[in-house]
Each structure stands twice: as structure tokens, then as C-alpha cells.
């Protein structure tokens, strides 16, 4: 329905944020995430950051699964 991509905010200038993912950069608009800070992660759709990505939440999910599968997966 809607493709959106996760990237990290590495610089902010007004309505724009420079975002990065594994060496790939993209300028995104942050009109609806005015409180976003450098170092935080966002989800981008059609060039607009539409929501923050809570990295702690993601890590917690993974941690639970790592425990369940302990010894079977490689380290993150």
C-alpha cells in the first residue's frame, strides 16, 4: 500500500533532514516530525519523514527472539 524506508537522521536544516542508510544519503522533509533530532531514526515515504522509528523498541523485540533461539543465530 505504501512503501516507506527507514533511515537515520544525520543533520537537520529547517524543514529538511539529511538521512542516511549504509552510506546512502537522501534529503527528506520533516514537516510533520518537527521535534525529530539528529541521531534518531525515521521512516520516509515519498521524500517525507512520516514517523520516527523507535530503535530501542526494535532492539527489544530482537532481544526476545535471540533468547528464544539462543545459540542458533549470529550476533547483531
Amino acid at each position: 500500500m505504501c512503501i516507506a524506508i527507514p533511515m537515520k537522521v544525520i543533520a537537520i536544516d529547517g524543514k529538511y533532514a539529511v538521512c542516511e542508510y549504509e552510506g546512502i544519503r537522501k534529503l527528506a522533509r520533516i514537516d510533520f516530525l518537527s521535534e525529530v533530532k539528529v541521531g534518531e531514526y525515521v521512516i520516509i515515504h515519498t521524500g517525507f519523514a512520516i514517523q520516527k522509528l523507535d530503535i530501542e523498541d526494535a532492539l527489544e523485540t530482537i532481544r526476545i527472539y535471540k533468547e528464544l533461539t539462543s545459540g542458533q543465530t549470529s550476533e547483531v
Partner: protein, 345 residues
Amino acid sequence: MVEKVNLKDKILISYGTGGKYTQEFINNYVLKHFKSKILSELLDSAVLNFEMDSKIAFTTDSYTVSPIFFPGGDIGKLSICGTINDLLCVGAIPKYISVSLIIEEGLEFEVIDKILSSIEEVANEENVEIVTGDTKVVEKGSCDKVFITTAGIGVVNKNICLHYNRISPGDVVIISGNIAEHGLAVLLSRGGFGFDCKIQSDCSSLKPMLEQLFNKEISSHIKFMRDPTRGGISAVLNEVVHKRKDVSIEIEEELVPLSGSVKNLCELLSFDPLNIANEGKVVIIVDKNFAEETVKVLRQHPLGKNARIIGEVTTENKGRVILKTTYGTKRIVDMPIAEELPRIC
């Protein structure tokens, strides 16, 4: 008297009219770069010598890439490498190439000079001779800067017999290196939809790598080769199963070599790297008993350092190319319909 042109000057319609301007262009530009005895005769056709008992391979191609300069190459290098690779993929060693230029009026001589230099450089390195050609200048807007049409002639190696008909179940599919670099490099140099990433085109002549392979005894066990240009690996493999509806090809997702940047950019743009153009890779189908050794020979050359076996010819889903996912499930790899476009959904 036609004045000697300056590199900063622009190409005028007059340079394509066959008169003194054209002579000036040929003498000062074309012949400067292409030092061929045959070409310097400036006859209506190049007259070539061949050993009579050899098979001759003959190919033609046109190049319209935009932009004409991109990371890793330009339209000149692309045109010569592309022609060389097409000849190699039928087992031929390239010998003679023709180059025709269609130039948009107003293009700087400097640009044409750079492109001719790129052609010269590859031709010298790969020991092929530019023996004939043509130049036309068209009105502004009639073409995009410059289009190049080439034809190439090569002598087929006697050891090698490449044909769809030789493919049989059990044969192994090899790719000579990381895929999808050319297509993405060109896309990025067109603006890349705002994505900024360092990806170089893989544009290169496969001759030094494939020559090593052709000189080995194993080359007689190679059944089929093709360079996966437009449409990528998907197109090449689908062409095989369209010609040979009695077999299928199964590749493994995890085995397909691609660089981190290519993988990630494809992910961000939702592109399938299998569908994206390469300009310095070859897909090889070979008897399974000689597959490992083929990979070993390819890897001896820097162009083939990431060569890998990516799959095999089977009969399980005749007429289809199948991809085995990381989870062991299978899905179809279709012939790409058209160029990949960025999507919102």
C-alpha cells in the same frame, strides 16, 4: 580554407556534410585516436583478412545512454566494451570494430574528443582495431548529445561451441561477479530520485578474463554465455528457458553476488537487482563437472574475483526461472516487463 578547430569550439552541422569540414574532423579527430592502417585508407569499406577455415562472429549495437558520462565510464567506453563482450559471448575473439557517430550540433569538440579517447584506450588495451566508421551531425534536439552505433567482427575459438541446444539438466549457472552496478550508476548520475550513493558502473571489456577461460581445455564444456545487460540476469535466464522450454533454471537468492551498496539502494527503491543492467559481467552455463574449475579460472582475473555458482539447470518447473529464497521457499523470477521505476506502493 577551413580553420583548424579548437577543442572549445562546438560541432556545427557543416561537420557532417561531407565537405572540407568533415575532412578536417576525420583527419584531426578520428584518425588521431584510431591509428589503423585499414582505417587510414579511408575507403568506402574496410577490407579485412581472415584465416579462411575459421568461423566469423558478427554483431551490431547502438548506444544512446544518458548521461553520456557516468561513474565508471562513458558512452565511448560502453560502446566498445559492449561490442567486444557481445562477440566474446559467442566464443569469438574480437578483431575489428566499426564506429558510427551521430552528433547533436552544438556539442563541444572537447566532449567528442574525450569519447574518442575512451574508445581508443579500450581498443588499444584489448587489441581490437577500429577499421571503419561514419559521422553525421544532426540538428539540435534530434538526438541527445551523441549516439554511437558499432559493429564488430571476431574469430570464433575452435574449441568452443555455444548454443542453447547444448544446455542439459544438471548444468550449472555461473555469474562472473557482483550484479546491477551499471544500471544503478546511470540512474544515480541522472539524479537518482534524490538518493546519493557511490556506485560505479561495471562497464568493462570481458576479454582478458574470458580469453584465459577460452585458452583452457574446460572451455569446450561451456554450453552457453551471455552478458546480462538490459533486463539483467532475469532477462538472460528467461531467454534461455523460452528457447528451451524443456528445462528450468533454479537460482539461489543467497548465492547471487551483489555489493552492499547495490543491495541497500535496491532495497530503498524497491528494485529487484536481478532485473538491473550490467556492462561487465557474463552468465555462463557449464557442465557441472567443470563448474568449480570455471569459477576458479574466472577468479584469477580481477574482473571475476566475485564469480560464483548461482544455480543449476533442472526440469522441475519447465520453462520457468525459479528463485530459492533464504527460507527455502521458491518463487518465479519473471522476464522484466520494462525498466524499474520508483514507486509509492
